[in-house]
Symmetry: C2
Subunit: 126 residues, 2 copies
């Protein structure tokens, strides 16, 4: 565990915005200015392999999620914001059977417009 790795883990643990690798790089670099992108990518991939973070893909970007409990996501179609859903309804979902495949997990992705974007739109119109 090096200072760079600790900074990367801290960055993920402190945020709820599902940062991209580049956003993690920018945050870590503000504290350790010489950290290279390769270190950020290496560390993130190590965390992925160790199942200590998850990945959410959207609009061509891989976003990293330190929440490894099974959960779901809301994605704003305007600003791209990704938010964890901690709804009791998530548990109503039992594993579907799919053909002859072995099902291991299920995840719901909810899409729509986030409250912030709706407010921005209302102000712009009025």
């Amino acid at each position: 565990m090096t200072p760079q790795r600790r900074a990367i883990v801290d960055c993920l643990a402190a945020t709820r915005v599902h940062p991209t690798a580049d956003e993690v790089f920018a945050d870590v670099n503000s504290r350790f200015p010489m950290t290279s992108r390769a270190t950020v990518y290496n560390t993130l991939n190590l965390l992925l392999d160790a199942h200590l973070v998850n990945i959410v893909e959207e609009a061509g970007l891989k976003r990293f999620d330190p929440n490894i409990e099974p959960h779901h996501h809301f994605i704003c179609s305007i600003c791209g914001m990704v938010e964890d859903i901690e709804s009791p309804e998530k548990d109503q979902l039992t594993l579907l059977n799919v053909g002859n495949h072995v099902v291991e997990s299920m995840q719901i992705t909810v899409r729509g417009k986030c409250a912030a974007c709706i407010n921005r739109g209302i102000r712009a119109d009025g």
Copy 2:
């Protein structure tokens, strides 16, 4: 509607494997050898804008899905295969409320090991 565009649309309509842009390019090129990647990307993006195809992102690749009915996906964690789920259970899902956001759609992603990969594994072991 040009021959190139028709070939791209035909390719998508004929397949159930959710091809990537590059796979579409390879297929179209086998019939129209001089078709460029740009034409494939342009046409796919036109189809996306017109909501005539959907996109499924997985493992850093954008896969194109001509099925525009709301539906769900099974993704194999070994080979990356994406399969549509046409399960009656999909309809039991009612739109969740998520904070103050406006929910427009919900999609389930089921992950696991596909039948083909399981068979391959069993043969490899025995």
